[in-house]
């Protein structure tokens, strides 16, 4: 019991003194997750909206595919991208492996189906009159779709927040593609894994507490946006 209390105390000291190493890990984590989710949003939201609105052949197939991709194991994404980004792989010349960019790409692939799927649900559940209203007011098809996204923005933002929640708590991609490099690609989750293996419980715990706080914040935001819709 003393061991846990002692570690917790040290963790709180690390957080309150804004330990430089701790800060850098947190920044790396947030940076990779935010960039990854932004890219994923640029892909996922239009995808979700289009599949949600248009009736076309193969639509059900795409929805099934999106659902499957949502359950995509992170290590599989890590494995495939590792093969692609390795110097021996097709994109090896870009030198992306073991860089934050590799993590960002991995995270965007991981979260894009999630964001697409949630956006799809929001679009399908949206008021049918929004598009007709926009059209009767003289909007072009694109303007009408943009208005639709604006009208359901809280639902869409909630989808993005869910994606961020997944990205920030993800280990497999960050570990495999980033390589857990101190000062470069060490994220909160990979650092926790490492510090636990080193027996540095306090440092891991400090990161764990911050990760929990981030998760809490994400959920509060989600709650807020869900109530708005």
């Amino acid at each position: 019991m003393d061991y846990l209390v002692e570690s917790l105390w040290q963790a709180l000291i690390l957080i309150s003194t804004l330990d430089r190493q701790l800060l850098q890990i947190i920044v790396t984590s947030l940076y990779a997750s935010i960039c990854g989710v932004l890219i994923a949003s640029c892909l996922g939201i239009p995808m979700g909206v289009l599949v949600g609105l248009k009736q076309f052949r193969g639509r059900r197939l795409i929805i099934t595919l999106l659902n499957t991709l949502m359950a995509l194991p992170t290590v599989v994404v890590g494995l495939i991208l590792y093969g692609l980004f390795s110097r021996q792989g097709p994109f090896g010349s870009l030198g992306l492996l073991f860089t934050p960019t590799a993590i960002i790409i991995g995270l965007s692939i991981l979260t894009a189906p999630l964001i697409a799927n949630y956006s799809l649900t929001v679009v399908v559940g949206a008021d049918q009159r929004i598009l007709t209203t926009a059209t009767t007011l003289g909007a072009s098809p694109l303007q009408a779709k943009l208005l639709l996204i604006r009208e359901i923005r809280f639902g869409v933002v909630a989808a993005v927040v869910v994606g961020f929640g997944r990205a920030i708590s993800e280990v497999g991609v960050a570990m495999m593609l980033g390589g857990n490099i101190r000062g470069s690609t060490r994220t909160m989750t990979t650092a926790i894994a490492l510090e636990t293996s080193k027996g540095e419980f306090a440092f891991g715990l400090a990161l764990g507490i911050i990760l929990l706080l981030v998760a809490l914040l994400v959920n509060l935001l989600l709650n807020y946006f869900q109530q708005k819709t």
Partner: protein, 220 residues
């Protein structure tokens, strides 16, 4: 009189047991048309065809004065106010601005038009109110104002007084009567058998998806 819009041999199959059929209909510019008929007779469908929201399966729609205009340009001269209109989240002003923004009307003009139209529908001072907080009568009037700011050549109204308290009905009807002199052609679908009389103009009757006959019913 100019013919604004001309429908020939229109057929619009929506399902196996309902289709809209209009053999011949010319709407004259600057006229009020009232459209009556039982529930499910196809009033709303006809309005949607006129609003270019529904493409008929057969037949032609022509605008004799604008033979060269694109679909979007034509649509921007027509506005439909639905029976239970959807108001955009945000303020009354946001609702009124949308159509103007789409038409790239300069900002200072928007302001002017909005104030003028809000006065017309007796909602002066409502610009900054949240749309969600309005009563259903106020919402209906905002929807009407949202259409009027666009200065459409053809205004289609689907039961504009159905969801309104009786005291506001004369206000709306009065407003509609003032539109033709401003160059606005109005088609107003209604349940209220007295309304055609009060509005004046030409009566159109729908029956089982067919446009029956045209009664000339001159304004007194």
């Amino acid at each position: 009189m100019n013919t604004l819009i001309s429908l020939k041999n229109i057929c619009c199959r929506l399902s196996s047991d309902f289709s809209l059929a209009v053999a011949d209909l010319d709407l004259q510019a600057g006229t009020i048309y009232t459209l009556i008929g039982a529930n499910g007779s196809g009033k709303s469908t006809l309005l949607k065809v006129l609003a270019l929201l529904l493409t008929p399966t057969e037949g032609t729609i022509r605008f004799p004065s604008y033979p060269d205009l694109q679909h979007l340009q034509l649509r921007r001269r027509i506005t439909l106010v639905e029976q239970s209109p959807y108001l955009l989240t945000g303020t009354v002003k946001d609702n009124l601005c949308f159509g103007l923004k789409v038409r790239k009307i300069p900002h200072h003009q928007q302001q002017q038009i909005i104030e003028q139209v809000l006065k017309q529908v007796c909602l002066s001072g409502f610009a900054e109110r949240k749309a969600a907080t309005l009563s259903s009568g106020e919402k209906q009037r905002v929807a009407l104002a949202r259409a009027l700011v666009l200065k459409p050549e053809l205004l289609l109204l689907d039961e504009p007084t159905a969801n309104i308290d009786t005291s506001s009905v004369p206000l709306i009807e009065n407003l509609i009567r003032q539109l033709p002199p401003q160059g606005i052609t109005v088609v107003c679908a209604t349940h209220d058998m007295e309304q055609p009389q009060r509005l004046g103009g030409t009566l159109l009757r729908m029956n089982l998806g067919r446009l029956d006959k045209l009664d000339s019913n001159s304004r007194h």
